[in-house]
């Protein structure tokens, strides 16, 4: 076999390894049996139907959506400020400060979760609630937002803003007329990605959520009841589908932003 043949085989094996477990989800979500085992025993929508009747799960979903929306807003706002500063201004220790801001990207989440739990409960005496989760999720999402928004702001020629001011606009109207339209695709992309990260996140939510679990924490709890597992599979199927759709939309906006500014693609997450 030629070398490229072996490489092709390796690539296929790699993809199977990555995605086969996820394909199991929809397979058993539509399988007409409470036992997770092959062979499959027929098609059903029962598990999805059952999802609609679990009130505790609906509460968890609402909780998760609230946390994800707030996290997306806060981390994108912080990201805009940081990306703007990083691409426009020079200040002492800039590289060190940016490095520290980006660090949560590689910190183990369990460490973040435990230390935040200690800070919230022992130092500030805060009761655990959706807000403690939001604070922690904002911490881990902000680096992603900065990475996306950095690209958006870097591709913005500083002369464009100067030209608008030169043509009579104030700094405020320049931001509205020039800066915002050119970076809005990056902002949308940042909102969607931080929303998705927060929605899926388990470890931090598990530690910091009070008696109102988020959806991933609720799902984890369901595993104690084997009869519920097909329902979890159905829920998982929906979550995977929503994540893929949101990330695809985010990437679409990132690329559209580049095309709009007439820039070359210099990377991104997808």
């Amino acid at each position: 076999m030629r070398r490229s043949g072996w490489l092709g085989l390796y690539a296929v094996a790699y993809l199977i390894f990555l995605y086969a477990p996820i394909i199991i989800l929809p397979l058993f979500a539509f399988n007409d049996s409470a036992v997770i085992a092959f062979p499959l025993s027929g098609f059903t929508l029962n598990w999805f139907r059952e999802l609609t009747g679990i009130e505790a799960m609906h509460a968890a979903l609402r909780n998760s959506l609230f946390i994800a929306v707030m996290t997306a807003l806060f981390s994108t706002l912080l990201g805009i400020a940081a990306a703007r500063a990083a691409t426009r201004y020079n200040f002492p220790l800039k590289a060190g400060i940016m490095g520290l801001i980006m660090l949560p990207l590689v910190l183990p989440e369990i460490i973040v979760a435990v230390s935040l739990l200690v800070v919230a409960v022992q130092i500030f005496g805060m009761p655990l609630s959706a807000w403690t989760v939001i604070a922690a999720h904002t911490l881990i999402c902000t680096p992603f937002c900065i990475a996306i928004l950095n690209t958006a702001f870097q591709n913005l020629d500083p002369a464009l803003e100067e030209a608008a001011v030169d043509l009579g606009e104030t700094p405020q109207s320049t931001f509205r007329l020039i800066t915002l339209p050119l970076v809005i695709p990056g902002i949308i992309s940042s909102l969607l990605i931080s929303f998705t990260i927060s929605l899926d996140e388990f470890i931090i939510a598990f530690f910091l959520t009070g008696n109102e679990p988020t959806l991933p924490v609720y799902i984890w709890g369901l595993f104690r009841f084997p009869a519920r597992i097909p329902v979890v599979m159905a829920l998982g199927t929906i979550l995977v589908a929503v994540s893929i759709i949101l990330l695809a939309i985010a990437e679409y906006y990132r690329r559209r932003g580049l095309a709009r500014a007439g820039q070359k693609d210099t990377g991104g997450f997808l």
Binding site: A159, E162, D166, L167, E169, R260, A261, G262
Partner: protein, 364 residues
């Protein structure tokens, strides 16, 4: 200086960036309707000066008067200047027409049809009739340049500032835009201030040129004066090519006598001497086109020196010779038109070189 009014008056302008002293006391006046160039190598402060006039940089000390008003603390959007940026800064999310009309947003008392007419006129002026609805990011470099010009000129500024506007264009387009910019400037009568590092471009386009080195104006003069009477050796070397000899001069009863290694002695006039130093150990300069090869059988009323052809470059219309005169250690550059009947000399042959004392410049 012409007798027209000064539209810009700079008085001892300094600019510091921390430790870096970018402008070291610039004083000059720029006249209304003038095509003025700021010429110098990169880092000489020419762009800083232009951006200070536009209001994007605050000057550290001194005064900057625009149309009689002190510009201290006046932001760019309140100054009667408009700028054509090096990158053109065309708004990529707007159409050509929206780009050109951008500055009219703040003009009250103009109806929609007035504005549309003004945009059409501005596009016509730069040769882009019918381009109004095009997407701006789909334009070529030359077209972007024209849009940037139309966008700035539609506001009828007192001064148009151009920051290296032609540097991104290829040679042919650049030459075409040079003459077009000149024509446009005469047509609208607005003061143009051009920043460039290209001495040829500055000579072709400008009424007057300020040559800048290291934050100072080395010389402010018309293109001809700058070329023929450069005030310093630095200016002479930056504007075109100049050959240098070691030499000196003495002032006697019969006038000024100059001597130069390789050329010998000659009588010159006082206006050929630049600087106020002594007559010992000066640099004597002459331009390549003021020297000529004397081919076999040709005679001249000019002075003659002899030397050997070191090297040559044949350009088609011209031949550039490197000739080492007897008694000199470095060759001179001589440019010759390739007229009918003139041979192209070979390396190593001896030749006569004709020169005229009137074309010498002495830097003391």
């Amino acid at each position: 200086m012409t007798d027209r009014n000064a539209i810009i008056d700079l008085r001892d302008v300094h600019k510091h960036y921390g430790e870096f002293h970018a402008l070291k006391g610039i004083s000059m006046e720029i006249a209304e309707g003038e095509f003025f160039s700021l010429l110098g190598p990169s880092g000489c402060g020419k762009t800083t000066l232009l951006r200070s006039i536009a209001g994007f940089e605050d000057i550290s000390s001194g005064a900057l008067m625009l149309d009689g008003a002190d510009m201290a603390g006046v932001p760019p959007n309140k100054r009667p200047t408009n700028m054509v940026f090096q990158s053109y800064a065309i708004f990529p999310h707007l159409t050509v027409g929206e780009n050109v009309a951008f500055g009219l947003r703040r003009k009250t008392g103009l109806s929609k049809s007035d504005k549309a007419r003004m945009v059409d006129e501005a596009l016509e002026m730069v040769g882009l009739v019918g381009y109004g609805a095009r997407a701006a990011h789909a334009l070529s470099g030359g077209q972007r340049q024209r849009v940037a010009l139309a966008r700035a000129l539609i506001l009828k500024p007192r001064v148009l500032l151009l920051d290296e506007p032609l540097s991104a264009l290829d040679k042919k387009l650049r030459e075409q835009m040079q003459s077009e910019l000149r024509r446009l400037q005469r047509q609208v009568g607005i003061t143009f201030i051009l920043v460039t590092h290209d001495q040829e471009e500055a000579l072709i386009m400008s009424d007057r040129i300020a040559v800048m080195f290291e934050g100072r104006i080395a010389q402010l003069a018309s293109p001809q004066d700058l070329y023929l009477r450069p005030k310093s050796r630095d200016v002479a070397e930056f504007i075109g090519v100049m050959n240098f000899f070691e030499g000196g001069f003495q002032t006697g009863a019969a006038g000024i006598e100059m001597t130069a290694q390789g050329l010998g002695a000659a009588r010159i006039t006082g206006d050929q001497i630049m600087g106020s130093g002594s007559g010992t150990s000066c640099a004597v300069g002459i331009r390549p086109e003021s020297l000529s090869i004397l081919f076999e059988g040709e005679t001249t009323s000019e002075r003659i020196a002899e030397g050997v052809v070191d090297d040559l470059a044949y350009y088609g219309d011209m031949t550039y010779y490197e000739v080492r005169l007897d008694g000199m250690d470095h060759p001179l550059t001589i440019s010759m038109k390739n007229r009918a009947g003139r041979p192209v000399l070979e390396r190593g042959v001896r030749t006569r070189v004709a020169w005229d004392p009137r074309s010498l410049v002495v830097f003391s």
